[in-house]
């Protein structure tokens, strides 16, 4: 057995990284807004929103993929609109895979951001206010920099989780080599193929390395920023 990955396998790796990166970019601004709403605002249905955000953690991923298929598929209410108005295709594409992983890792991201937003002292924002900073100014210059460690830790965790998403992806965008066949899908395919064990082992090793690297990177980064803030 050779340790060197085949062209198909490195393609799966590249695709996984690309999908995970897109997924984080999609969910980051949304997660930030939702985290801010849940931490800073008291409104009707807040508990409901909180529960809804956490749904992907408890639902079968295949079901999430199925719901996405219904909503974002070519004939779905949102998917159809996106296709007709903007020419955006999500189904059977890597962007679709990114959306599926974004939804699945969304609770992790929101959770990390909420935790870090709660550590930002409101008193500092008040101080900025008395110094002449308006709402957006305050958020950009005080709140965001202070929650950066948590924000980045959340992003890295979500990225790592996105690399491993299987059920929602295969249900929503299928298993197309070079377009939606990410590492876990390639691993599954290899296991289904006679004599595919060496490939499966290599793919498993890659997944392991990526996950471990991501977690270590996130920890290292959080420490660095904490030291910068003197905590």
């Amino acid at each position: 057995m050779t340790m060197w990955p085949s062209a198909d396998e490195s393609q799966a790796l590249q695709l996984s990284l690309s999908v995970a990166l897109r997924s984080v970019l999609f969910s980051l601004p949304v997660a930030l807004s939702v985290a801010w709403l849940l931490t800073r605002r008291r409104f009707l249905g807040r508990t409901l929103l909180d529960a809804f955000v956490h749904l992907p953690l408890v639902l079968p991923p295949v079901m999430v993929g199925y719901v996405l298929l219904l909503l974002l598929g070519s004939r779905g209410p949102i998917g159809g609109w996106l296709q007709n108005e903007f020419g955006i295709h999500l189904i059977f594409t890597r962007n679709g895979a990114a959306v599926a992983t974004a939804v699945m890792s969304f609770p992790l991201m929101v959770r990390a951001m909420r935790l870090s937003l709660e550590t930002v002292e409101r008193g500092l924002e008040e101080a900025a206010r008395t110094l002449g900073a308006g709402a957006i100014d305050r958020f950009a210059t005080i709140t965001l920099p202070l929650m950066l460690p948590g924000l980045l830790a959340g992003a890295v965790t979500a990225f790592s989780a996105a690399l491993g998403e299987f059920g929602a992806v295969i249900t929503f965008v299928s298993n197309i080599p070079g377009e939606t066949r990410t590492l876990p899908l390639a691993l599954y395919t290899a296991l289904q193929t006679p004599g595919g064990e060496p490939a499966a082992a290599r793919l498993a090793l890659m997944s392991f390395g990526l996950g471990m690297g991501g977690l270590l990177l996130s920890e290292w980064f959080a420490r660095r920023v904490r030291r910068l803030l003197g905590r």
């Binding site: 206010r129 110094l131 900073a133 803030l229 003197g230």
Partner: protein, 366 residues
Amino acid sequence: MFSVAVKKRRGAFELDAQFESPTPGVVALFGRSGSGKSTLVHIVAGLLDADAGRIVLDDRLILDTGTDVNEPAERRRIGVVFQDSRLFPHLSVAGNLNYGRKRAAPPFFVTLDAVADLLGIGALMGRRTHQLSGGERQRVAIGRALLSQPRLLLLDEPLASIDASRRGELLPYLESLRDELAIPMAYVSHDFDEVLRLATHLVLMDRGRTIAQGDLSAMSLHPELRAIIGAEAVGAIIEGTVLGMDAASCLMRIRVGQGEIRVESISAAAGSKLRVQLLARDLIVATSAPRDLSVRNVLEGIVCQVAGDSGGSDLITIDIGGAFIMARVTHAATRELALTPGKRAWALVKSVSLRGHVGGSLHAGA
């Protein structure tokens, strides 16, 4: 003129505060913990909404719930120094100072160099905020507030989070703020020593209400103040003018009212004005000119009020010509000396405390 009248209900606590103080000058909001001082500061700063009220600073209407005027905090231009300094941990000292400076609007009355000089923080510029001591943090916080070019500076117990032994180091900085920048200040404290060093005007607060107010000299003899600081700390705070050094005794001569007292040599130029505190318990009253005594400081005047205090003594207020002092004597002494208003009296001063420069005026209308 800085005038405030606000109402606010927060659960069981009700704030109903009203005061007016001359500008520039330092108005001290003084009272026990929980008397509503901090709530009042938050309302004036705009960080808390009043249920009803009106705030006017000089010619500027800041809040008037009657006509729906309510300037947002970020446009009030009221600098706040918080008890816990609230420096931004992700910025350096220079970054903190510049935060307010960049967002300031004219008129600019103080520069970065002047602030660094005044507060002695020039050498700290490159430091991270967590490397600062408590006193340094507060100096940076004061500088940051000043550089936002505020029209009013609110100081909310700025010394409370500093070690008691080091508080004295910060007071001179606050004094020079008062004396060198003519910025109106409101100083919140529950420590009377700070108040009598800094304040020119005093507002007493108790359970959410402003119970008495006036210039510092008048307030120093006020019964409500007595109730808060206790009989031992009661005493007149008056303005003294340095006359010069007495060559023979090497004592500094200071004029108070129409009289004169001499104190151990201090460095003060002739003509400068000092805060003189004469504690009621340190005065002895005589009804004839005293002779053959070791006490050298004697002030002559007319008794103008005799009031009993809770501890079985009487407080005798004596007009020494343009200023009032207060002595504490026993009921028996009051009877035997027949101390009644109008009677001529001499007060023997056992000890004098000097509380820094006057900084403005301690007497209304002066």
